[in-house]
């Protein structure tokens, strides 16, 4: 017997904010997941036509190709400054940056600290994969002690090459920041929590509650020299210890947000 009257229900589809095209990201890379989470949040909030994104320099330099929203492309590290300029003249739009760890935590440290300390009403999606992906896997400000990269071939020696920067912890010390959390994309459970954090961060901005940043522990199978599965295990086994997940700054007004 052929059953023809099974009711259909769409349980999963491409968010309106995402462009239906194949990305340039490597197989297994979590950039695509992060993009999707941002797009879902904008869809749910009905903000697709009211949002301006600021892409940065790194693997996500072409992020603007994958979103159906207005975008500008910043110089390396300067996305928070560019977002500040846009938000100040268009205060009723949602403005977000999408930055990697080399961009945000090294060359752009001045701009991110400036934006956070001003309590700039922008949202920052911060991808931390402990490497410079676009340029071929060099040591990043976030590379772990002992981590082998193309510019720390014997492993990061903290006596010579310094210690990794814990961005969420650092920015949470600033009075101007309102919502600073770290999440991870290495499994489904954490990915769902990441989604909720991104949605919350955009709500913070929409309600004018201040500066919001979501740090996302991410992978780089290509430059880490691992399979996608191995790379996710590496996040869990190595990165979580140095970059604990959690809410580092939730201002009292933000704590009242219900999603």
């Amino acid at each position: 017997m052929v059953v023809t009257d099974i009711p259909t229900k769409i349980v999963y589809e491409r968010p309106e904010a995402l462009d239906p095209r194949v990305t340039h990201y490597c197989p297994g890379c979590t950039h695509g997941v992060a993009h999707r989470l941002v797009a879902e949040a904008l869809d749910e909030m009905g903000e697709v036509e009211n949002t301006i994104g600021v892409a940065s320099v790194g693997c996500s330099v072409f992020a603007y190709n994958y979103f159906n929203i207005d975008f500008v492309e910043a110089a390396h590290g300067r996305a928070p400054a560019m977002a500040t300029g846009i938000k100040r003249v268009l205060p009723d739009r949602l403005v977000f940056t999408y930055q990697g760890d080399g961009d945000l935590a090294s060359i752009g440290m001045g701009e991110i600290v400036g934006a956070a300390s001003r309590g700039e009403q922008i949202t920052v999606i911060f991808i931390n994969n402990a490497t410079y992906g676009m340029t071929g896997g060099q040591m990043a400000p976030t590379s772990l002690p002992g981590q082998v990269t193309s510019s720390s071939p014997t492993g990061r020696d903290v006596t010579r090459q310094g210690h990794p920067i814990q961005t969420a912890e650092l920015l949470s010390t600033l009075t101007g920041s309102s919502y600073i959390v770290r999440r991870s994309l290495h499994n489904f459970r954490e990915t769902r929590r990441a989604k909720k954090a991104i949605r919350t961060a955009f709500e913070v901005q929409k309600q004018g509650l201040g500066f919001s940043l979501v740090e996302l522990l991410s992978n780089c199978p290509t430059n880490w020299g691992m399979s996608a599965v191995e790379s996710r295990d590496w996040i869990e086994e190595r990165m979580l210890a140095f970059y604990p997940l959690g809410d580092y700054k939730v201002s009292s007004a933000v704590a009242d947000i219900k999603i």
């Binding site: 910043a74 400054a81 500040t84 300029g85």
Partner: protein, 371 residues
């Protein structure tokens, strides 16, 4: 409106605001800070964004973002700060969004000092940032002229989707003079089609300076250069003094031009047939009038507050057809009219030559004077 006694920096700030400046982003640096300070009060009064950035890098990139919305935006700084902005200026040029930069020039290189100079000419006029781009550069020689050029700077930036720089010698920025500031203009209401705003009409807009495909980048370079040719045709501005019967011509911009005018007048009183060409746009450079003068006169004296940076643009146009001599003071030293007059008399008296380089002859004389 009546004239008021007003400092150059403050006057430019107020003139910008009245020309429809919608957002200002800056960082303190001497001798520019009064400009930022004035706007820190006035912009919030009018409900317009003002941000004191974390650095000049921050300021220029805030301008970059705000310029992408099609609004009238500006930053200001002084030489070392403008060096830091070069990255952003290249990106802004590459994205073809309009903005106004005020560079209140001081002595350099390095930290140098806070005295007036013209040593930023090469950096501002001939680039500074990476890649092929040009910016429009206006060089006022008085507070009133700086005020008048401020509104023009915004108009030119909008018209050509270009960066316009008001190159204000530290002396003009710091000097108080009587000036009339034009009345308040309404803010621009038309948003250019290219400006980002949120994809409200379903049409997504992207503003970027990246072009991974070299032929596409080259097409973009061609568009920029073709636009620059139009600017060269349409926007040259200069002022000539006593040129009609001049046998010798002094060329100087900004403060050096103004000091040279005093020297030229003194020379006229001595019966010397000397004129002055004062470029107001140093980019685009007044090549045509210089070419015409080359055919008519017996020699040129270029006067600058640097080591002869505009001198090379003059020599390029004169092309060895007539003698060109140079007189400059560097490092924040401002020449006296008497010094320029001495140089005029030296040129008139001769002997004159088209051999060698005028900078070498000047450096030899300067070493004797200050060495």
């Amino acid at each position: 409106m009546a004239k008021e006694l007003i400092k150059g920096n403050t006057a430019v700030a107020e003139a910008a605001l009245r020309a429809g400046l919608e957002a200002y982003f800056g960082y303190p640096i001497t001798p520019q800070s009064e400009l930022l300070e004035h706007l820190s009060g006035r912009m919030p009064e009018l409900g317009r964004p003002f941000v004191q950035a974390e650095s000049e890098l921050g300021a220029i990139n805030m301008v970059y973002g705000a310029a992408c919305t099609g609004k009238r935006v500006m930053t200001s700084s002084s030489s070392p700060g403008v060096s830091l902005m070069m990255e952003g200026l290249s990106y802004i040029a590459g994205t073809e969004v309009p903005m106004v930069l005020v560079d209140v020039v001081r002595g350099g290189p390095g930290l140098g000092n806070i005295a007036p100079a013209q040593g930023d000419y090469n950096q501002i006029v001939h680039g500074g940032g990476h890649g092929d781009y040009r910016i429009i550069v206006l060089a006022p020689s008085s507070v009133q002229e700086a005020v008048d050029l401020t509104a023009l700077a915004f108009d030119l930036a909008d018209k050509y989707r270009a960066i316009t720089c008001i190159m204000l010698d530290g002396s003009i920025g710091q000097m108080m003079e009587p000036a009339e500031i034009p009345p308040m203009q309404p803010l621009k209401t038309d948003i250019p089609d290219w400006a980002v705003r949120g994809a409200r009409d379903g049409e997504k807009r992207l503003l970027t300076s990246i072009n991974l495909d070299p032929p596409a980048q080259e097409a973009m370079n061609l568009r920029l250069m073709t636009r620059w040719q139009a600017i060269e045709r349409n926007e040259v501005r200069y002022k000539g003094y006593y040129l009609d019967d001049a046998d010798f011509v002094v060329v100087g911009f900004g403060t050096a031009g103004r000091i040279s005018l005093s020297a030229v007048r003194a020379a006229r009183e001595k019966g010397l047939k000397v004129g002055l060409l004062r470029p107001i746009t140093v980019a685009p450079f007044p090549n045509t009038v210089l070419d015409e003068l080359t055919e008519k006169v017996e020699g040129f004296l270029v006067v600058e507050m640097n080591a002869g940076q505009m001198l090379e643009d003059v020599r390029l146009m004169v092309r060895g057809r007539k003698p060109v001599e140079f007189f400059g003071r560097m490092g924040g030293v401002v020449p006296f009219p008497d010094e320029v007059l001495t140089e005029i008399e030296r040129l008139v008296k001769g002997p004159r030559t088209t051999d060698g380089h005028p900078r070498d002859r000047w450096l030899a004389r300067l070493a004797e004077t200050i060495g």
